[in-house]
Point group: C2
Chain length 359, copies 2
């Protein structure tokens, strides 16, 4: 960890983020209206193609290399009994990702995406594997009910690591990134982050995560309330919120988001935890918001409030609540479809089809 | 047209339709609960995999050959000024399908599906093309505001043709069929069908189709009201409703649905017009309903009422209203993903991941 280097990278990244390209968006909009279909009849696929044109600054964007970045981390707050699953499941699921047996593996294969798995702070030591990047900030966060989850330097390191990871993937060809995560207990810091930014009382934003029972659910709400009281995170400062009530994989994903936006790549935001990371990123630099696409509305209670805060309207709602990037995978397939519609459909002129005016 | 042969085929098809296979569904449900994810966390993808297991009578179904059947027909009611586009667009769009330039071509390619285009009753004579099946019942329907859209024999012929078409596709390997259609004016008969079966007043079910203006919209509502008054279709008899206020491509799709269900193949129902066809099929034989999957909620006003009548809950809502099978294509990709999740994910035992009980 080198705090000065990390801060320099973060600052340079933030300074690079620009608004969407209006010229490319207008060209895409004009073309959508000349394609052989009633104007607007492809609904959100049309809107998505226009947003993507603006992100890439390209009136006819093409999505080839699709990457899911799935970041793993552990959470000291599991000691407070907030999760239905034991902490050992985090490294076990990382191995499952590496062996191709998890839901995200199946869905990534289905849409033709690559997955890269990052150990941002798993409490166990993982064996090296060609598909695993070990970028551990620490062996899990501290328990946020007793003090900050991490130090400010660790928060900076998590974000800088995310930026470096996405930059490496962009060098490898990444056209669109889906955010994914794994970390037993990580809906608790995510709910805390959501409560801080939205100002909503924890009881109205905490959900059951992987399926905690009634007593555990009450402990989880209490843990978030205690975390806010003990740490008093400053909602004006994204890094402070991340350090006090966040997680290493959440910080890493915030870095991925900032880094992708700086390089004009769209981010398909997965569910509850990924959206908490997006809130941290947007608090640090609101200019990332136009680069975000909300893949789906998670079944996890409170997710809709978080999307509203970000001004995002999810593409789908399939009652999913798994994380890992599973919702993002489906969203990426829709983004690819949107670009193909824009690029590959014939115009009225090309196809010799009479437009509405011909009536 | 051979009415006796058509009726024999229809009767034999209806007699073949069976309930879903409960044993396969239970096996799929049990397996979903052993896969490495919190139970139920993949939401509707899990439900879909279980339904598909029941349809195929296979606890681990595999979807390989995906087919969109797009049926085209014209409608005498266009003379009443109900559409924003001129009737010549129907054959022009058929050519666009054959040349690969329409939205359904792009989306079918995206999901790896084949398209077959059927002329069920286009008012123009189409040139032969290797990818076009000419199965014309007539050169467009009669104007349903002045009398029946077609004769009972034509209605039977349309349904029997749909059964034959889907049977041919099943012989070629079809694992799942998406319904698609093209026909200037065809939201008007579809709204009439919906009004008959739901009993909803036409003003509450007619939409703007491809984008008719206010005066045209009023003409369209009046056309549906007049059609019901003039023809008095009997909602207890699907064939009577189809003949009096339907269309040839709608009857063809009803046949596709009945034929697919009889051969235990799932039907991904597209939007407004396809759902009207599904209502006709379900009125003829309610046993088809478990074989139906509603791909999406169309933006076309009234579609939600039709889905409710069928007891279907759409997978997605992307504000689409194009038809052609475009929504079905996206839905088919989700169905394929659902099967892959069920078949390809590791179980807790296989992956060495601790289940919830291990806490």
């Amino acid at each position: 960890m080198n705090p000065a280097t990390d801060q320099t990278l973060i600052t340079a990244t933030l300074q690079t983020i620009r608004p969407l390209d209006e010229v490319a968006m207008q060209a895409a909009r004009d073309r959508q209206n000349r394609l052989t279909k009633p104007a607007g009849s492809l609904g959100r696929l049309e809107d998505l193609s226009i947003q993507l044109a603006g992100i890439y600054a390209d009136p006819l964007p093409v999505i080839r290399d699709k990457v899911i970045i799935t970041m793993a981390g552990d959470h000291g707050v599991v000691a407070s009994g907030v999760s239905a699953f034991p902490q050992e499941v985090t490294p076990q699921m990382v191995l499952n990702f590496l062996h191709g047996g998890a839901a995200i593996n199946v869905l990534a294969r289905h849409i033709g995406a690559r997955i890269t798995v990052i150990d941002m702070g798993v409490a166990a030591d993982l064996d090296p594997h060609p598909d695993l990047v070990i970028a551990k900030i620490a062996h899990g966060t501290a328990n946020l009910t007793e003090g900050p989850a991490m130090t400010p330097d660790q928060a900076r390191a998590a974000i800088a690591t995310g930026i470096r990871i996405v930059n490496q993937q962009i060098e490898l060809g990444l056209d669109i990134v889906g955010t994914g995560e794994m970390g037993i207990g990580n809906t608790t810091p995510s709910a805390a982050i959501a409560a801080v930014f939205t100002g909503v009382e924890p009881g109205n934003i905490v959900g059951r995560g992987t399926g905690v029972d009634d007593a555990g659910y009450q402990r989880k709400i209490n843990a978030v309330r205690t975390a806010l009281t003990v740490n008093r995170p400053d909602r004006q400062h994204g890094l402070d919120v991340l350090a006090k009530v966040g997680g290493f994989e959440i910080g890493g994903l915030a870095g991925v988001i900032l880094g992708a936006a700086a390089r004009r790549k769209p981010v398909m935001v997965d569910g509850f935890i990924s959206t908490a990371a997006a809130m941290v990123a947007a608090a640090i630099e609101p200019g990332v918001k136009p680069y975000l696409i909300a893949a789906h509305k998670s079944q996890e209670y409170g997710h809709a409030l978080m999307l509203d805060w970000l001004g995002l309207h999810p593409l789908i709602d399939l009652d999913m609540r798994l994380g890992e990037g599973t919702g993002a995978a489906i969203g990426i397939s829709l983004a690819e479809a949107a670009c193909k519609v824009l690029a590959e459909m014939a115009t009225f002129d090309e196809a010799g089809v009479s437009d509405k005016g011909a009536e």
